[in-house]
């Protein structure tokens, strides 16, 4: 039973709940801090992941000198960002110039707060700690996410304008026009899912794809991807365009407009835009998982209890491989830290076999995270293989193809739901 954060009667109940006991406030702040830390770390290693995968697609190694397998590369990049000179060009509107990256980053990080990561709460110290920032378990979950995406256009538009230079201005205008155009297709493509689930709430959308009383063994068959395949393709294409990724990254590509709207931004402010872009990638992957791929539901039917040991089956060999791999290196990091990490991972895998409570708890986050990782891999895969669209092709695709397709999807879905209701009634 989830918290109804914002009830239909008044938001003041949420405020009461949050401030009434000091414990709830403290738990929420702790959750926010931990989630921020996790998201920023995942961002850093997402850049490593991207460089490695794109490199292997292009038959080269990628970062492999800084730390074993190049794993310390994000750290080195962070240090570089810290020490690089951070100039402010002459003639810029100082307030807007500093506001734009801040806005982009704040909005991207806020959208992560709305996503639920697991159905069941942790029971610690007598409190139920839900995975996901509980008072924000909104009845309008998906709509709030779209609201935050809609505000994200400002980061790009203001950055382009504030830089007081023609390439950023053009890049900013093009990029924001692209984001606005694809926002329509993005919002309409999920309406099919919302019609089937009957709610905006993200947890309820996942539960609508769960095994039903009549079909207890649904598994992968119950996911929204099958009835909503058209909606999924519209959503994913629009999402890639919305986050300004390949093949829709003309406004910020280096060969095109001298890096577009972030030309005049150096080191730390550029890092903020960078983090905002990768965080929105993660948010979109989480959204696609929740709405079309069953969120934290396992693809196997619940009655196949052997599949419950899949986390351990993956973690134990991986941990052993990390341990053995550590012995190849001659540095301290390779010889000592890698085997330590490997041992921890193997112990975790064994722990899940030994303790059934922990195993039951970890199922949902495990499936959720693996599906999100799959989507991130698809993002990076597209970057390594696809060429980019020209700007007029890009806008034509958004307005003339995706928008009509999304509308057709909505019409078709509602027609079929109505037909099912009529036949069911007979």
């Amino acid at each position: 039973m989830h918290h109804d954060g914002i009830l239909a009667g008044g938001g003041h109940l949420t405020v009461h709940f949050l401030f009434a006991t000091r414990d709830e406030l403290f738990i929420t702040i702790a959750k926010i801090a931990i989630l921020l830390f996790i998201v920023l770390t995942v961002n850093a290693y997402l850049t490593w992941f991207e460089r490695k995968v794109v490199a292997h697609i292009q038959s080269r190694w990628g970062p492999h000198r800084v730390g074993p397998h190049g794993l310390l590369q994000p750290l080195a990049d962070g240090v570089k960002f810290f020490f690089k000179e951070d100039p402010t060009p002459a003639g810029v509107d100082k307030f807007v110039y500093f506001l734009a990256p801040l806005l982009a980053l704040a909005l991207a990080l806020t959208s992560i707060a709305i996503i639920p990561f697991g159905p069941e709460p942790l029971h610690l110290f007598g409190h139920d700690i839900y995975l996901g920032i509980a008072p924000l378990d909104l009845n309008i979950g998906i709509l709030a996410l779209f609201a935050i995406t809609a505000l994200g256009v400002y980061g790009v538009a203001l950055a382009g304008w504030a830089s007081n230079s023609k390439y950023p201005l053009l890049g900013g205008l093009r990029s924001s026009a692209q984001m606005i155009s694809y926002e329509l297709a993005l919002t309409l493509s999920v309406v099919g899912v919302l019609l089937m689930a009957g709610t905006f709430n993200l947890r309820d959308i996942i539960n609508a794809q769960a095994p039903l009383a009549g079909h207890p063994d649904r598994g992968i068959i119950g996911w929204n991807i099958w009835p909503q395949i058209l909606g999924f393709f519209c959503f994913f294409t629009a999402a890639v365009a919305e986050t300004n990724r390949v093949p829709f990254d003309l406004p910020e590509a280096e060969q095109e407009l001298v890096a577009g709207f972030n030309t005049e931004y150096a080191s730390f402010k550029f890092a903020m835009f960078f983090i905002a872009e990768y965080t929105s990638m993660i948010t979109i992957s989480c959204l696609a998982t929740i709405m079309f791929f069953g969120g934290w539901l396992s693809p196997f039917p619940v009655s196949w209890t052997l599949t419950h040991y899949l986390p351990s089956v993956i973690l134990i060999p991986f941990g052993l491989w990390v341990v053995l791999d550590g012995f190849r290196y001659e540095t301290v990091l390779g010889r000592v830290v890698l085997p330590a990490v490997g041992t921890v991972v193997t112990a975790l895998g064994l722990g899940f076999i030994v303790f059934p409570h922990a195993n039951a708890f970890i199922q949902a986050p495990f499936w959720f995270l693996s599906k999100v990782l799959l989507f991130l891999f698809v993002y990076v895969w597209m970057r390594g293989t696809l060429p980019r669209f020209r700007y007029d092709q890009l806008m034509a695709l958004g307005w003339k193809l995706l928008l009509p397709l999304s509308i057709v999807n909505v019409a078709l879905t509602s027609f079929l739901i109505l037909a099912k209701m009529q036949w069911g009634a007979k």
Partner: protein, 171 residues
């Protein structure tokens, strides 16, 4: 008003102060882009107030449509027209004090009228039964279906009008 400082009241005052500061900033800023940013702050504060009142769907629509589309239109036009900082002319300096007086009188009159009829418009009990979105959609498509269709037609006319207006002369 005999109510103690509960937490919702505190949140209300914070959001109300934010809205008023945004509106005052809209007046005081010299460059239109800063005025636009202040107006966005006002709209987000108002969306927060709608959430506080429990009108969650309206809050989301306010941010998506007003804050994410209409204000983006304003910002685009300001950027495209390269609007510079405003100039202060003698006429506007003359209009300042009388305008202030007039507006203060108007606001005071409205506020006094409302406050005097205070007892009848206190907050009613929550209607937690009907979800906001479901209730609104039922009303729009059952009771207000004609205004709904008319406004869709209005939006179509506006799109056509704006497209025609913004075209360049073909001469």
């Amino acid at each position: 008003m005999g109510c103690e400082m509960t937490e919702p009241l505190l949140v209300f005052f914070v959001l109300a102060a934010l809205a008023v500061i945004g509106a005052v900033s809209l007046i005081l800023q010299k460059h239109p882009i800063h005025s636009a940013l202040s107006l966005i702050v006002v709209m987000v504060a108002l969306a927060g107030l709608y959430l506080l009142m429990g009108a969650e769907f309206v809050a989301a629509v306010q941010i998506i449509v007003y804050g994410g589309a209409i204000m983006v239109l304003f910002v685009f036009v300001i950027m495209l027209l390269n609007a510079g900082a405003e100039e202060r002319t003698s006429l506007s300096k003359m209009a300042g004090p009388p305008g202030l007086l007039l507006v203060a009188a108007l606001a005071a009159f409205v506020a006094a009228t409302i406050a005097r009829s205070g007892a009848s418009v206190q907050a009613a009990a929550e209607t937690g039964a009907l979800s906001s979105t479901r209730g609104i959609s039922e009303m729009i498509f059952k009771d207000f279906v004609y205004p709904f269709e008319l406004t869709s037609f209005l939006v179509l006319v506006a799109i056509l009008g704006a497209t025609v207006l913004a075209q360049r002369e073909k001469s």
